[in-house]
Symmetry: C2
Subunit: 107 residues, 2 copies
C-alpha cells in the first residue's frame, strides 16, 4: 500500500460510552455533524457506534486552530455540556497529528 | 477537562468496511488482539464495529519502531493478506501522533 495523502492534518479522536438516556442524542449528533462541516478547516468525519453503546468518532481538520475553533463554537459547547450531563457515561478526546495514510484498495 | 497523559505516543487508526464473507474473521481478530498485546511497545487497543459492518480500531504504541514491528510480525502479515483477500471491502490505515488527551469524568 502506498501513502496517498501528502498534506499533514489533525484528527480529533472521540471515544465514548453512552448512558441509558439517549433522548435527543440522535438529533444533536446529526446537527453537530452538519455544524462541523460548516466550520473552517473541517476535512471529514468518520463515526462508528456498536449496539452496546460504545462509539468512536474521528473528525479531521486542517490544523490545530481549526480544532480550537470547533471546540469553542457556542452551539457545540452547549452540545458538550448536554453530553456530559445526559448522554455519555465516559469519553476520551485525543488530538492527533496524522503522519501517514494508506488505503486499500489503492487510490 | 484536563490533559491527563503526558507521555507522547502513537496510534494506528484502522477504518474498515467488511465484505459479506466473514468466515474466520472473529477468530483472527481475537488472535490479532492477543498478538498485538505481546508486541513490544504496545499500549492499548480500542475497537468498535457497527451492525452495518463499518469498523474503527485504534491501537496505541510507544513509538514508530513499535508500529513497524507490529506491521512486520509474520502472523500479522498473514492476517493482513487474508483481510485483503476475504474480509475487507476497503480500509484506511493512518499513523498518528497523539498530541493531547483528556477524559470525562476526569481521572
Amino acid at each position: 500500500m502506498q501513502e496517498t495523502r501528502k498534506t499533514p492534518c489533525y484528527a480529533v479522536i472521540f471515544t465514548s460510552t453512552q448512558t441509558d438516556t439517549q433522548q435527543g442524542y440522535t438529533e444533536m449528533a446529526a446537527r453537530m455533524q452538519e455544524l462541523a462541516q460548516q466550520q473552517p478547516g473541517f476535512i471529514r468525519m468518520e463515526s462508528v457506534r456498536s449496539p452496546e453503546g460504545k462509539g468512536i468518532t474521528i473528525s479531521y481538520w486542517q490544523d490545530l486552530p481549526s480544532i480550537r475553533g470547533w471546540k469553542e463554537n457556542p452551539e457545540h459547547q452547549e452540545a458538550q455540556r448536554l453530553g456530559k450531563q445526559k448522554w455519555y457515561r465516559d469519553f476520551t478526546i485525543e488530538i492527533a497529528k496524522i503522519e501517514s495514510v494508506s488505503h486499500f484498495p489503492q487510490d
